[in-house]
Symmetry: C2
Subunit: 180 residues, 2 copies
Amino acid sequence: MRVLGVDPGLTRCGIGVVEQVPGRKPVFVAAGVVRTPMNGAHEQRLLAIEQGITQAVEFYQPDAIAVERAFAQQNLHSVAGTIQAAGIAMLVAARLGIPVTLHTPTEVKAAVTGSGRADKAQIGAMVVRILGLTEAPKPADAADAVALALCHLWRGGATSKYALLEATMKRQQQQGKVAK
Amino acid sequence: MRVLGVDPGLTRCGIGVVEQVPGRKPVFVAAGVVRTPMNGAHEQRLLAIEQGITQAVEFYQPDAIAVERAFAQQNLHSVAGTIQAAGIAMLVAARLGIPVTLHTPTEVKAAVTGSGRADKAQIGAMVVRILGLTEAPKPADAADAVALALCHLWRGGATSKYALLEATMKRQQQQGKVAK
């Protein structure tokens, strides 16, 4: 099962992809960010976010998309872009027919580090350890998106071993078709 | 100059279209709502909003799009869908290359009724009077979207008579091409 995580943001929208075959450890596939210029027109930035997420989803062909749920910790003006980026990620998932799930930051932290109050450095360190990387994906938004994808594997997809097996078989069949 | 107004919402997204030729009164073109089921999946509702707005914009071919700016008057959970619908309207505008502007509810009320604290009934009544209709567009979200389009004509487009003239000439040229 391959999961694409989206850490939504207007300036930096993190994207992380991980894959897990039943009974094996999760494997790192990719991580990066879609950047938009802070002085750009808001609508052009939203369009760039949509195009970046769409390209990543079409390229990595995930079985599921996980999006971080935005909260009103800041004032609404600063969080509006984040909420809209999250909405665009959900929109892209619906358009491409890929199941999408939201996870809260606390759920992601707890899933990856065991503590709902872990900081960015702790999340990055655990992502490195779990996936056997040499260093954490950068910037932090990319590492957060990878942590989100891992959270989804453990909370949703991979806790249901049947769903994981089914997604893996489907992927192998598709890859078989491509190979022929 | 033809303006398409969007009163963003997840359950009912109002759309109103008005047109004005320089020196003439604004003319009503169309009003309606994009509805999505309250028990639908959030991502499917966002997709339906996007498709509905895109269809309206492609059909009515506005020169400008005006979107009501959402505010944190309610809690963030209930306003998140509205903020995302507004983002989708901006996204559609950017994708189709149509200029998009935000107006606050207070600006819309003041432009149409003369008072920033007018209620829905007063807005509906003024929309009827300004456009010479027999009754207000229904539901209220459709009337609000028409008011927003009128606000845009007066605040943005039509206060710049040159922009209004230019858009009208462009439209007449296009219609001329279609007629040939």
